[in-house]
C-alpha cells in the first residue's frame, strides 16, 4: 500500500511533500527531487537541520517571507498557500504556488501537514506582462506616449535601441513641420544646425553604444528654417534583464536662455572693453558685431552727433559698405537728411519698414541711396546720455522689408543702452583726461602742488607737481622722514610743531611759509595752505596746496633792494630839486651875517665909533651863524643814505622841520601853507628820516599839483592827529588839480606820474616806507578842488624793518591797494 501510494504521490503533477506538526519537512516526492536536483537526504537535511534542507532551494529574496508565513500557517492550523521562487536543478528560479493542508486526528489535533507546490511561472509571466510598464509593451507604447508626450511642453521622442526614430510627440511634428514617416525617413543629423551636426552625431552614437545617458545642447532647424537652441537629454530604458529597449529623448527649447547668455557675455565683453579704456571705434564695432550675431540677418551701424551737435560723425558699421557710410557721415542733424539724423534730431525712434514705399528724406535722396546698397528696411534709435542729451543713433538695416518685433525692440533698447554707456564713458574719460591734463598743467604753471594727509594712518598723497617741487621720486614711498629731510633745518621745528597741532585736530585751516633746502643747498620758498576735512567715516584728513614762491620771493627781495635804491635816488633827486631851496635857506642867514659884519665894521670905523651899535650887530651875526648851522645839520640828516634807525619820533617836530626846509620852495611856488599840528600827539616808533622823506614827498606832491592853479589860493594844509586804533595820522590837503579817477589806484605805483617832469617814484617810495612802518597811505579827492593824501601809522609797531625786509611788504601792499580801490 505504501509503495503503491508512493508511486501515486510521485506521479502527481506537482511537487508533493509532508511535514510534521512542528513544520519540519519529513517527506518530499520524486518530482520535488528531480526538479530541484537535490537528493532526498539533501532536501530533508540531517541532524540539527533535519527537515530544513529544502529551504536551500528557495530564492533568497523570498526566504524571509516564506519562513514567516510558514510559521503563521503552522500556528493557524488552517490550509494556506503562498508563492515563492524555487530553484530548478539548472539554477533557474521559477515561481511556485505552495499549498499546505493540515491533517488532523479524531481529536482535531494536527498530526501532519500535507503540501503541494505547483509551477506557476508561466501564469506569473503572463500576469507580469499584463501589468508591465507601457514602454515594455510595444502595442501600448504609442497610446501611452501620445497621452503623456503630447502634454509636455517640450519635444519628446522615443528612439529605438539602435538610435533610430520610433515615435515623436505632436510638438516634434509641429516644430519640424514633417510627418512621423518623413522624420523616420531622414537622417537624424539633418534636423540639426550644420555646425552642430558632427558633435551631435558623435555623442549620440556614443550614448547608443555605451548606454550612457545623452546630454547636449545644439540648434534644431525649425520648419521655417530658423535654428533654435535646444537642450536634449536622452535616457535609455531597460528591461529586467538590463537590455535597452528604447531611448527616451527630451528636447527643451533653451534658445531664449542661450541668446540671453550670449547677449550677456557680449555685453560683459563690451563693458570690459569700456572699462579697460578701448577706443570708441573699437567698442562700437564690437557692439555692432554682437548685434549682428544676436539678431541674425541685420546690418548694424552707430553714428555719433559731433560735439557741436549739428552733424553726424562715424561711429561704427563693420558690415555696411564704406560708400554707404560715407554717404551718411557729415549729414546735418535734422529731420530731412536721413533716419539717423532724424532720430538724433527728434530724440525718437525712426522706423522705415520698407524703403521702397518710404517718402521721408526725399530732399536728401536718402532712400534711393540706401536701396542702391541693397537695403530695404532701416530702424534707427537715438542713443541718449543719462542726462538726456542725444549722443548719436543706433541703426539696424535689413535687406528685406521688416518691422521690429517686440523681442527685437527689447534688443534694440538693450543695445542702445550699452552704446550710450560706451559713448558716454569714452567721452567722459576723454573729458576727465583733458581735465586732469589741465589740472596738471595748471599745477605745473602755477608751481602749485596739492596733497592730502590722512592723520590716523599718516597716509600722505601728493600730486605729481608736489613731487617735482620737492624734487622727490614719485616711486619712492612718502614718509615723514623723507619729507623732513628736504625742509630747511631752521624751519623744521616750526613744521613739526605745526604738524603736531594739526594731528590733534584742533586746527581747521592753517597756512604758513617755509623753506626747503635742496641737496645742492639751494633754498626754495613754499607757501602752504591746508584745510581739515572729515572723510565719510569721520576720520580727519587735511587737504592742501603748496605753492613754490621762490621766484616771487626772490624778485620781492630784488624789488625791495630796488625800492631802497629808489628811495635814495629820490632823496638825491630831491636834493637836486631842493638845491635852490637849500641855498636859499643857507643864504638867508649868511646874508644877515655879512651885512651885520659890514655894518659892524662901519660902526667901529666911525668917529666916534658906535660901540653899542657894533655890539648889537655882532650879536646878530652870531645868531645868524647859528641859524645857518642848524640848517646844515638838518640837511645832513635828511640827505645821508643810511639804514633805517628806529627811534621814538615826534611827528609834529619832524613835520615842522620838513616845513622849515620846504618853506622857501613852497613860497616860491606861491603856496600858502597852514600847519594844524595836534598838541597831544603821541610819539610814534619809526625811522625819523624816512618819515620826513614821506612828508616832504607829500608836500612837494601837493605843491606840484597846484602849480597850474591861478584862479584860487594855492592853499596847502598839513595836519597831524590821533587816528583810531592807537594810530597817528598825517594828512596833506591841497587845492590843486585833484585826482584822475582812473589813476587813483595807480598813484602809489612806481614810475606812475601825471607830471611832465618827475620820475613818478615819490609816492611809490612813500608807500614802501609807510608799509614798512605797518601803516597805510592813501589819497582821496576833496569835496572842493584838490585832493588829500594821508598816511596812518601805529603808535608803536611791534617791529619795523627796512623797506627791503622780507615778508612785510607783501600783505600790506594788497591791503593798501584794497583801500585805494574802495575810495
Amino acid at each position: 500500500m505504501e509503495s503503491e501510494l508512493r508511486r501515486v504521490v510521485d506521479a502527481l503533477p506537482g511537487l508533493v511533500w509532508t511535514a510534521r506538526p512542528d513544520g519540519h519537512i519529513d517527506f518530499l516526492n520524486q518530482r520535488w527531487c528531480e526538479y530541484t536536483g537535490l537528493s532526498v537526504e539533501q532536501a530533508l537535511g540531517a541532524d540539527e537541520a533535519y527537515g530544513q534542507g529544502w529551504l536551500t532551494a528557495i530564492h533568497r529574496e523570498d526566504l524571509p517571507e516564506l519562513v514567516e508565513r510558514w510559521r503563521s500557517i503552522l500556528a493557524s492550523g488552517e490550509p494556506r498557500e503562498m508563492e515563492v521562487r524555487l530553484r530548478r536543478f539548472d539554477g533557474e528560479y521559477r515561481w511556485f504556488l505552495f499549498r499546505a493542508c493540515p491533517l488532523a486526528d479524531a481529536s482535531g489535533q494536527v498530526v501532519k501537514w500535507c503540501g503541494m507546490s505547483t509551477d506557476i511561472e508561466d501564469r506569473r509571466r503572463a500576469e507580469e506582462a499584463l501589468h508591465a510598464p507601457w514602454w515594455l509593451r510595444s502595442s501600448a507604447r504609442e497610446h501611452h506616449f501620445r497621452s503623456i508626450g503630447d502634454s509636455i511642453p517640450a519635444l519628446g521622442a522615443l528612439m529605438t535601441p539602435a538610435g533610430e526614430v520610433e515615435l515623436v510627440n505632436r510638438q516634434v511634428l509641429e516644430y519640424f513641420g514633417a510627418t512621423l514617416e518623413e522624420l523616420k525617413g531622414r537622417a537624424i543629423s539633418h534636423s540639426f544646425h550644420p555646425d552642430d551636426r558632427p558633435d551631435v552625431l558623435a555623442r549620440w552614437r556614443e550614448s547608443v553604444e555605451t548606454g550612457h545617458s545623452y546630454d547636449f545642447e545644439a540648434r534644431l532647424r525649425r520648419a521655417d528654417g530658423v535654428y533654435r537652441w535646444f537642450h536634449t537629454r536622452g535616457f535609455p530604458l531597460r528591461d529586467t534583464e538590463g537590455r535597452i529597449v528604447l531611448w527616451y529623448l527630451l528636447h527643451t527649447d533653451v534658445d531664449d536662455r542661450k541668446r540671453a547668455e550670449a547677449l550677456l557675455a557680449g555685453e560683459k565683453r563690451l563693458l570690459e572693453m569700456v572699462a579697460s579704456g578701448h577706443s570708441m571705434s573699437g567698442i562700437l564695432e564690437a557692439l555692432c558685431q554682437l548685434v549682428e550675431s544676436t539678431a541674425s540677418g541685420c546690418y548694424c551701424s552707430v553714428v555719433l552727433v559731433d560735439p557741436s551737435g549739428t552733424h553726424l560723425e562715424h561711429g561704427a558699421a563693420p558690415s555696411l559698405p564704406a560708400s554707404f557710410i560715407t554717404a551718411i557721415i557729415g549729414r546735418p542733424v535734422n529731420v530731412d537728411s536721413g533716419p539717423c539724423a532724424m532720430a538724433s534730431y527728434l530724440n525718437e525712434q525712426v522706423i522705415a519698414a520698407d524703403l521702397t514705399s518710404e517718402t521721408r528724406w526725399a530732399a536728401y535722396a536718402w532712400c534711393p541711396m540706401a536701396l542702391a546698397h541693397g537695403l530695404r528696411a532701416c530702424w534707427s534709435t537715438p542713443i541718449s546720455s543719462t542726462a538726456g542729451k542725444v549722443l548719436g543713433a543706433f541703426a539696424l538695416y535689413y535687406d528685406e522689408p521688416r518691422t521690429p518685433t517686440l523681442l527685437e525692440q527689447s534688443l534694440i533698447e538693450q543695445f542702445t543702452h550699452i552704446a550710450s554707456i560706451a559713448v558716454e564713458r569714452v567721452q567722459n574719460d576723454a573729458a576727465l583726461k583733458r581735465s586732469e591734463a589741465f589740472f596738471a598743467e595748471a599745477q605745473h604753471l602755477s608751481r602749485t602742488g596739492s596733497f592730502s594727509w590722512r592723520v590716523a594712518t599718516d597716509e600722505i598723497t601728493w600730486s605729481e607737481q608736489l613731487y617735482r617741487i620737492y624734487e622727490l621720486d614719485p616711486a619712492v614711498p612718502l614718509t615723514s622722514e623723507l619729507i623732513h629731510s628736504r625742509i630747511h633745518p631752521e624751519d623744521l621745528p616750526f613744521i613739526c610743531e605745526m604738524a603736531d597741532r594739526a594731528r590733534g585736530g584742533d586746527v581747521v585751516d592753517f597756512g604758513y611759509e617755509h623753506r626747503l633746502q635742496m641737496p645742492d643747498r639751494s633754498v626754495k620758498y613754499l607757501d602752504m595752505v591746508a584745510r581739515a576735512t572729515r572723510d565719510p567715516d569721520g576720520r580727519l584728513e587735511y587737504i592742501g596746496a603748496v605753492q613754490d614762491v621762490t621766484e616771487r620771493r626772490l624778485s620781492e627781495e630784488a624789488l625791495g633792494k630796488v625800492r631802497s635804491e629808489l628811495a635814495h635816488v629820490a632823496r638825491v633827486t630831491s636834493l637836486g630839486a631842493l638845491t635852490a631851496s637849500i641855498a636859499h635857506e643857507v643864504n638867508q642867514p649868511l646874508s644877515g651875517i655879512i651885512t651885520n659884519a659890514g655894518t659892524c665894521l662901519r660902526m667901529l670905523a666911525a668917529d666916534p665909533p658906535n660901540i653899542d651899535g657894533a655890539r648889537e650887530t655882532a650879536r646878530r651875526t652870531i645868531r645868524d651863524g647859528n641859524r645857518a648851522s642848524d640848517v646844515i645839520t638838518r640837511l645832513r640828516a635828511l640827505f645821508s643814505k643810511k639804514d633805517a634807525t628806529i627811534e621814538s619820533v615826534d611827528l609834529n617836530e619832524a613835520t615842522r622841520e620838513v616845513i622849515a626846509l620846504s618853506l622857501s620852495e613852497l613860497q616860491r611856488s606861491r603856496v600858502i601853507l597852514r600847519a594844524e599840528l595836534a598838541d597831544d600827539l603821541p610819539p610814534v616808533t619809526g625811522d625819523r628820516v624816512q618819515l620826513q622823506q614821506v612828508i616832504l614827498n607829500l608836500l612837494r606832491n601837493a605843491s606840484d599839483a597846484m602849480s597850474g592853479v591861478d584862479d584860487r589860493p594855492r592853499q596847502l594844509v598839513i595836519r597831524t592827529g590821533r587816528d583810531e586804533g592807537e594810530r597817528v595820522r598825517l594828512t596833506v590837503q591841497d587845492s590843486g588839480v585833484g585826482l584822475e579817477p582812473q589813476g587813483a589806484d595807480k598813484l602809489f605805483e612806481a614810475f606812475y606820474t601825471t607830471k611832465s617832469s618827475g620820475m613818478g617814484i615819490g609816492l611809490s617810495v612813500s608807500r614802501s616806507i609807510i608799509e614798512s612802518h605797518h601803516g597805510r597811505i592813501w589819497a582821496a579827492p576833496n569835496d572842493g578842488p584838490g585832493a588829500t593824501f594821508s598816511f596812518s601809522i601805529p603808535r608803536a609797531p611791534k617791529s619795523v624793518t627796512d623797506t627791503h625786509g622780507l615778508g612785510v611788504i607783501r600783505m600790506p601792499v594788497t591791503a593798501a591797494r584794497r583801500v585805494m580801490r574802495s575810495r
Binding site: 635852490a580 641855498a583 636859499h584 635857506e585 643864504n587 638867508q588 642867514p589 649868511l590 646874508s591 644877515g592 651875517i593 655879512i594 651885512t595 651885520n596 659890514g598 655894518t599 662901519r602 660902526m603 666911525a606 651899535g613 648889537e616 650887530t617 646878530r620 645868531r623 645868524d624 641859524r627 622857501s664 613860497q667 616860491r668 606861491r670 600858502i672
Partner: protein, 124 residues
C-alpha cells in the same frame, strides 16, 4: 640945517635881513623903513617918499616882481634893487630888462650894495 636923508625902503620876509640891512643903510646915510611883505609896504605912507626900494623876490603872498608890476601900474617909478637868496642866473637879466636897477644874490657885500644904491640914485 636939517639934512633931508633919502628914504630907502626894505621889503623882505626874512627877519635877519630886516634887522641887519637897515643898520647898514643908515651907516651909508640913508633913512630906512623895513617891511615884512609887499602888501605892508603898499599900505604904508612910504610909497611916495621912497627913493629906492630894496626888494626881496620870493615872499609869501605878493612877490617882489608882483610889487614891481603893481608900482608900474600905479606909476610910482621907484628905482628897485632886487635881492634874493635863490641864486638863479636867469632871473637877473629878466629883472634888469623889466627896469630893475640891480639884482643882488644873498649874501652880498656892502660894496655891492653901495654900488647898487649909487646906480639907483643916478637913475632917480
Amino acid at each position: 640945517m636939517m639934512v633931508i636923508r633919502s628914504l630907502v625902503s626894505v621889503v623882505d620876509d626874512d627877519e635877519s635881513v630886516r634887522e641887519s640891512l637897515p643898520d647898514l643903510l643908515r651907516e651909508f646915510g640913508f633913512a630906512v623903513q623895513a617891511f615884512s611883505s609887499a602888501e605892508e609896504f603898499l599900505a604904508s605912507d612910504c610909497v611916495c617918499r621912497t627913493r629906492c626900494l630894496i626888494l626881496d623876490i620870493a615872499m609869501p603872498g605878493m612877490s617882489g616882481p608882483d610889487l614891481q608890476r603893481e608900482l608900474t601900474l600905479r606909476r610910482k617909478e621907484i628905482p628897485i634893487v632886487f635881492i634874493t637868496a635863490h641864486r638863479d642866473e636867469t632871473v637877473r637879466p629878466r629883472l634888469l630888462e623889466q627896469g630893475a636897477v640891480e639884482c643882488l644874490f644873498k649874501p652880498f657885500s656892502d660894496t655891492a650894495l653901495r654900488e647898487a644904491l649909487n646906480a639907483a640914485f643916478r637913475v632917480s
